[in-house]
Amino acid sequence: MSRSGIPRPWWRRPPVAAALTLALAVGAALALRPTSDPATGDAASGPAPALAGTTLDGGRFDLADARGQVVLVNVFASWCGPCRDELPLLAEAERRWSDRGVRLVGLDVRDGPEAVRALLKETGTTGLVVLPDPDGTRSVDWGVRGVPETFVVDRQGRIVARQRGVVTARWLEQQVTPLLGAA
C-alpha cells in the first residue's frame, strides 16, 4: 500500500509502529518499578560498629572491651514512651544473665542528662550503663531507624539480632539464650 507500490516492511506499518511504541513505553514503566528487596536492606548480622565514650555517670564504656561478652545495645530516649516501658524488662534480662556474661548498654539518643536520669529513676533502672548520644550520630552509625531499637552483639563482636521497636521477654529469650553457652 505504499506510495511507490513496493510493500513496506511490516515494522513500518503505522499500527505495528504504534503497538511497538506502546509496548516499549509499558515495558519501560514496568521495568522502572522499584526492584530493591526490603529484606536485603540492612543485614542483622555483621561486625558491630564502634561504640565507645563517656557514660552518663562519668565512666568509660568501649564495646571493644566487651569482647567475649554478649552485649545488648538498647537505643532509647526519655522522650520515647515505649522505651520507658521496655527498660525494666531489659534491665531484668541483664540481671538474670549477668553471671553468664550478658551486659546491657543504653544508647541515649538526642536527650538531656537530667531527663534520662529522671527516666532511670522512674523505671528503677538507675544502674544502667548509659552512653549519651546527644546529636544522634552514633545511632546513625548503627543504622538506627527510630527508638526504641535493640541490638544483640555476640561474644565475637558481631550483631546477631536487631529489634526495631519494643522488645519482648520472648524475643530476648530467643535471641540471647543460644549465645549463653558459647563463652
Binding site: 500500500m1 509502529a17 513505553a25 514503566a29 522499584p34 530493591s36 546529636d135 546513625v140
Partner: protein, 317 residues
C-alpha cells in the same frame, strides 16, 4: 482541512512540551546549592514515609543531617557519603535509586516518538506538496489518496506513542517517589498517629503521653478530648476529669467532653456521674456511645463493642 492540521500540530506541541517538562522535573536536579542539603535531599528518611532527610523533622533525620554535615566538613564526596549510608540502611535509603539500564528507556521512548513525529510531518508535507515532490502514482484528487492516509496514520501512531510516553513518565515519576518539598512532616500529626497506634495496642498510658506531647505543640480541644479518653482508659480517672473539664469550660455542650467527664466521675465522684451522663444524652442523643450510656444508666452491665465508649472500670473482657 487546514485549521484541523494546525490544531493537531498545536495539540502535539503542547503534549511534547508537557512531556519534556515532566521529564526534566522528574529527573533533573532539584537545584540545591548547599552540599549538605543536596546530599540530605538525596537520602530518604528511614523513619518516615516518602520524606527526604532534608525535609523530615523526625529526630533520626535530624541526626542523619548532622552526620552528612560532619562528613561534608571532613571533605568526603557526596557519593562517599551516600555509600556510607547505604552500608548502614540499605539501598532504599537513597531517594533516587541508582540509575539502571531501564532508565535509558525513559529517554529512548521519547526519542522514538520524536522520530515518529518527524516522519509523520515529512509524510504530511509530501502529501501536500505538488507534483514536483510527489510521484505521479500518488497524485490523487484533493490529497485523499494513499499518501494522505499514510500521513494520517503516521500522525496517529506518533500521537499514540506520545500519550504512551506521558503515561510512562507519569508512572516512573511516581515510582521515583521524590518527596514533596511543600509538605514538611507535622510533628503533631506524627505524635497523634503514634498515639492512635498505641491506643489500638491498648497501651493507653503511653498513648496519653503522646497526646500530651502533641498538645504541648498544638493546644486543641479535639486533641484534649482524645487525651481525656486515653487517660480514662489508662485508669487515670482524675486526669481524664481534669482534661474534660478544661474542654467543657470553653464549650460546655461538647458531647465528648460530657461523655468522658461523666465516665471519669464514675471513678472520682460517683454521685455526679449520672447527672453528667444524662446531660451528655440530652446534648447528643444520636451519639454512637449513647446506646451504651443509656444501658449504663439503666444499670445493665455494659457490652464492650466497637463504639468509642471507654471501658468502664471493673468491666472485664
Amino acid at each position: 482541512m487546514r485549521w484541523r492540521r494546525v490544531l493537531g500540530a498545536l495539540v502535539l506541541v503542547a503534549l511534547l512540551a508537557g512531556a519534556g517538562t515532566a521529564l526534566v522535573r522528574s529527573t533533573g536536579p532539584a537545584g540545591r546549592p548547599d552540599p549538605v542539603e543536596a546530599v540530605a535531599a538525596s537520602l530518604r528518611c528511614p523513619a518516615c514515609q516518602g520524606e527526604s532527610v532534608v525535609d523530615s523533622r523526625s529526630p533520626i533525620a535530624a541526626s542523619m543531617r548532622q552526620v552528612v554535615a560532619d562528613q561534608v566538613a571532613q571533605g568526603r564526596s557526596p557519593d562517599e557519603i551516600r555509600r556510607w549510608f547505604v552500608q548502614r540502611y540499605g539501598e532504599e535509603v537513597l531517594a533516587d535509586p541508582p540509575a539502571r539500564g531501564v532508565f535509558l528507556l525513559l529517554w529512548a521512548v521519547p526519542v522514538l516518538v520524536l522520530l515518529g513525529v518527524g516522519y509523520a510531518a515529512v509524510r504530511t508535507a509530501r502529501s501536500r506538496g505538488g507534483p514536483a515532490t510527489c510521484p505521479p502514482a500518488a497524485a490523487g484528487p484533493a490529497g485523499s489518496g494513499p499518501p494522505g492516509r499514510t500521513a494520517r496514520r503516521a500522525w496517529w501512531a506518533a500521537s499514540l506513542g506520545l500519550v504512551a510516553t506521558m503515561a510512562s513518565v507519569a508512572v516512573a515519576a511516581r515510582q521515583l517517589d521524590r518527596p514533596a518539598p511543600a509538605a514538611p512532616a507535622d510533628p503533631v500529626a506524627v505524635a497523634v498517629r503514634l498515639a492512635q497506634d498505641l491506643e489500638q495496642q491498648q497501651r493507653y498510658a503511653a498513648a496519653a503521653q503522646m497526646y500530651g506531647e502533641a498538645l504541648r505543640d498544638r493546644p486543641d480541644d479535639a486533641l484534649r478530648l482524645r487525651l481525656a479518653f486515653a487517660l480514662l482508659r489508662s485508669g487515670d480517672a482524675a486526669g481524664a476529669e481534669r482534661t474534660s473539664r478544661d474542654v467543657l469550660t470553653r464549650s460546655p455542650d461538647s458531647p465528648d467532653g460530657l461523655l468522658v467527664l461523666g465516665l471519669a466521675q464514675r471513678g472520682t465522684r460517683p454521685a455526679d456521674a449520672p447527672g453528667t451522663l444524662r446531660q451528655f444524652l440530652a446534648v447528643a442523643p444520636e451519639h454512637p456511645a449513647a446506646v451504651e450510656i443509656r444501658r449504663l444508666l439503666a444499670g445493665a452491665p455494659p457490652t464492650v463493642g466497637g463504639t468509642p465508649t471507654p471501658r468502664p472500670a471493673g468491666a472485664t473482657g
